[in-house]
Symmetry: C2
Subunit: 221 residues, 2 copies
């Protein structure tokens, strides 16, 4: 039989995992708002973010209460300790989706991006939703190999971002400077989303092993 | 007489404060690297970041040890709890300075930015160093009014970022798309630096009061 304490710890992890998956979904929806000038999708991402913010406040309170009331030790303390940092990363992942949705909403009914970069964003959104799901799996399983997968997916995102940047910088960009600037900043939001997911993976490795790997080491898992 | 425990808590805060000030200095130096194509300054920022990374690892270990050995309660637990989040913000502030320095180094001996935007970056660097110092003061004093100052300084940064963006988007930008993209991304690094400093201010208010203000509320302090 599980104690109430272990149930609280498990709830904390489940909620963090759910937030990761929600952030991935938000990113996918924000990308639709962006590429299809879909204002309903944009509004939904912006409205839904309240749920992530509310979850953040709740999870923080629960983590704090666990420290006060249960004084966890060893891997359980590492789990609570890490949840305090993970919560900031995952809220930021959701906030990045909101940034994208707000840019789409501001320009509606116009399209923000030139059609030729659309495929990069579709591909980056696909990686983002995979990252959200993988971060959730890594948290729930507390498996370092799952955490290592996040690093591979981040590499895929970095490759896409670099290619997108190549289109902007190296070739003849036939569009306006302002379209170029928007494309670069939007691309960066996807790249940062992936970085936060990798950070969550590092924390999972810490919960599991007690050692926080640096960014290069995580790929070894 | 202070106990060893209180000394450890005070050390934690002092180290966090020192890291904030270091991040501000790094930002100022990175700006010099950028605006004067000063590769020595760029290398120094990149090399010095190791100190921030090492401090981060040490502070995390100390915070963890405090939770294990001392089981702090009330405002002291809030201080340790918050330090776990602050450490991530301040390391990110340092990492943003490194991003700037690396762009300057990559383009050396060329200048990355068109001369006409130089003044914006000089002004943003000035705000950044003030933010680093203010974050340090807020942490050491644990004074909500000091934390509120960070919000005002962030407003100044936002204004500069918006003006810079106006130059890029609204007027006729006479330079290349690639110079426009670099200007936008670099500007964003300063803006994000300020956001992280404000986040530290929110945490100071939480340590002081037990209530985490949202981003709008912090200005009321």
């Amino acid at each position: 039989m599980r104690t109430a304490y272990h149930q609280q710890l498990a709830n904390l992890t489940t909620q963090l995992g759910d937030m990761c998956a929600l952030a991935g979904v938000a990113m996918k929806r924000a990308t639709r708002a962006l590429l299809e000038a879909d204002n309903v999708a944009a509004e939904q991402v912006i409205g839904d973010h309240e749920r992530i913010v509310a979850l953040r406040a709740r999870v923080e309170k629960e983590a704090f209460a666990l420290l006060v009331l249960q004084q966890p030790v060893a891997s359980e303390l590492r789990a609570v300790f890490s949840s305090i940092q993970i919560i900031a990363d995952v809220e930021r992942m959701g906030a990045l989706a909101v940034h994208i949705a707000k840019i789409a909403r501001r320009e509606y009914p116009n399209h923000v991006l030139p059609a030729e970069v659309g495929d990069y964003f579709t591909a980056m959104a696909k990686v983002a939703i995979t990252l959200g799901d993988s971060a959730k799996s890594a948290l729930i399983s507390c498996d370092p190999r799952q955490a290592g997968l996040l690093h591979e997916q981040d590499d895929a995102m970095d490759d896409l971002y670099r290619e997108l940047f190549g289109v902007l910088i190296d070739r003849e960009w036939p569009h306006s400077v302002s379209a170029g600037v928007e494309t670069a900043l939007l691309g960066r939001f996807y790249e940062r989303f992936a970085d936060h997911a990798v950070e969550i993976g590092r924390r999972v490795i810490f919960i599991n092993s007690g050692v926080l790997p640096n960014e290069d080491e995580i790929s070894a898992y």
